[in-house]
Symmetry: C2
Subunit: 118 residues, 2 copies
């Protein structure tokens, strides 16, 4: 299974949100203190090698985007949380958030609709 380091994960979050990005976009999106351009370029190259980003040459610079089926990584992380914190129980997970979230009646209705739609 693909494993990402903290920095790598942080970069992936950005690229996911942007759908595709140049190095400079990633640097831009990173919080202060921003790492060196080449630092990001190195990380991105590693991510390409790991097979989680692909690059496309636009003009003479590379644009990066997530490899399509990389959703598996999301699934794993999400599943991990369910297992780690909720004994793999979806109802427990929902109960947790429901308590935290202080839902409005509208939201409740929406959730119930979601649950009932198979």
């Amino acid at each position: 299974m693909i494993e990402l380091t903290k920095r790598e994960d942080q970069i992936m979050q950005i690229v996911w949100k942007l759908k595709n990005a140049f190095i400079r976009d990633i640097v831009e999106a990173l919080p202060e203190p921003k790492p060196h351009y080449n630092t990001v370029a190195t990380l991105v190259k590693i991510l390409v090698k790991k097979g989680v980003l692909k690059s496309e040459l636009i003009g003479n610079t590379h644009q990066y985007s997530p490899v399509d089926d990389f959703d598996a990584y999301r699934e794993k992380q999400i599943g991990d949380i369910k297992e780690k914190f909720f004994e793999n129980s979806f109802p427990k997970l929902v109960a947790h958030f429901a308590k935290k979230e202080k839902l409005t009646d509208d939201e409740r209705a929406e959730l119930i609709k979601i649950i009932n739609s198979k």
Copy 2:
């Protein structure tokens, strides 16, 4: 905010589940290839220094348990997932799992009860 490395997180998961543990329990619970006893001892010591584990001397060996209010760490991780993968939307999160989980009617009923209980 407290940050844990992968190994540290892995150890915390074990101690959480066991409620309290000796080093040997942790080594036991770790998957192959099991790290050296002293390796775990070192990590545990770091975790004590970070304030996420506390130790109690039982006989002449230390037993470790999570510091009580360390639930904050869980909260953060859980919240992170919601933010990272569901644009901070609880309904989106529920929708995601509801689709994955193939709920039975009983489970649906249970979830609806959870959602409606304020």
